[in-house]
Amino acid sequence: MCLECGCGQGHDDTHAHSDDDDHDHPHRHVEVQQSILTANDRIAERNRGFFKAFGVFVLNIVSSPGSGKTTFLQKTIEKMKDKVRFGVIVGDLETDNDARRLRTTGAPVVQISTGTLCHLDAEMVARAVEEVNPKNLDILFIENVGNLVCPSGFDLGEDLRVALLSVTEGEDKPLKYPPLFRFVDTVVVTKVDLSMACEFDRKSALNNIHLVNPKAKIFEVSAKTGQGMDSWCNYTMNLWSQHSPKL
């Protein structure tokens, strides 16, 4: 640490002011005042406009790993595929297991392997979307990388952000990871068929979600037994028809 100006540099020959007797501070101030994620937000807005132009309703699905995103999407698509044309973009660190499972529904699926990156960003979605042919889609699901922290800051250009919370994760998850649950439109509590076995405290879970995000629309489903899936599907269907009134 430079003791003269506290600038974090050591005193050596390369340090501009180290031999400056009167210690006039040589650094010049440059005012910036700009959002750091400007580049991502700009691409996200472009994505949003692009989807809108094709009448595609886009949902960004976020959750921790193992909350049941893939099964939930698989069942959602199977339930509605006679009425709606679906596409899916799947983000995963490695492997295309989720993509393969989703392809069994017949919907076009694009896999983004993020490698070491723990979230999707707008640019990755912009590149992937060319492969799903948006002209032939009504609803696009973006299955984000399983992670409760990182995806919350990155707008992808979606219309609706949905967080999944499985009963196996415990009712206090929203309190532990509030940024993610706070900035979603909808929370889907999954695997409710396991509630008893997990001693899941439903009342406290709903309370915690409400505490973090009072405006969130909440669904409780089991993709396995089908419980609550009709209500979720109707909700999605309604949002899509409002989004694309021309259809």
């Binding site: 991502n40 800051g153 940024p179 505490l211 009072p214």
Partner: protein, 122 residues
């Protein structure tokens, strides 16, 4: 990109973007190097200060900010209570009005991810 096998958290993406903006602005200002980068980060962003500093230490190599220091102003979360009609600073990451205990979804401040200014060398 970092060595394979290490999970890259969102702090890296944020820092990468901040460095890109800093370099563009420093070049536009006719500077040769960046001495200090000042950021404003809201509490609601979920950014972990240590992770951000770690990302900075790794990513600044080979950039104009190679010898720069990072200064971060952290902004506490401020929410609006619809019942009391006033702003309150949230304790922790929850927005519950301390007076009437109503949870608030209206976050007025605390989502900032901004680059405020630079100190540059000619």
């Amino acid at each position: 990109m970092l060595p394979h096998g290490r999970l890259v958290m969102h702090e890296v993406g944020i820092m990468q973007s901040a460095l890109e903006i800093a370099e563009q602005q420093a070049l536009a200002a006719g500077a040769k190097s960046i001495h200090e980068i000042r950021l404003r980060i809201g509490q609601m962003t979920g950014v972990v200060p240590e992770a951000l500093e770690h990302a900075f230490a790794i990513l600044k190599d080979g950039t104009m900010a190679e010898d720069a220091c990072l200064v971060v102003d952290y902004v506490p979360a401020v929410c609006w209570c619809p019942d009391c009609q006033r702003e309150f600073e949230s304790s922790g990451l929850f927005c519950v009005c301390p007076d009437c205990m109503t949870p608030s979804g209206d976050v007025r401040r605390g989502r900032e991810l901004e680059i405020i200014s630079l100190e540059v060398d000619e």
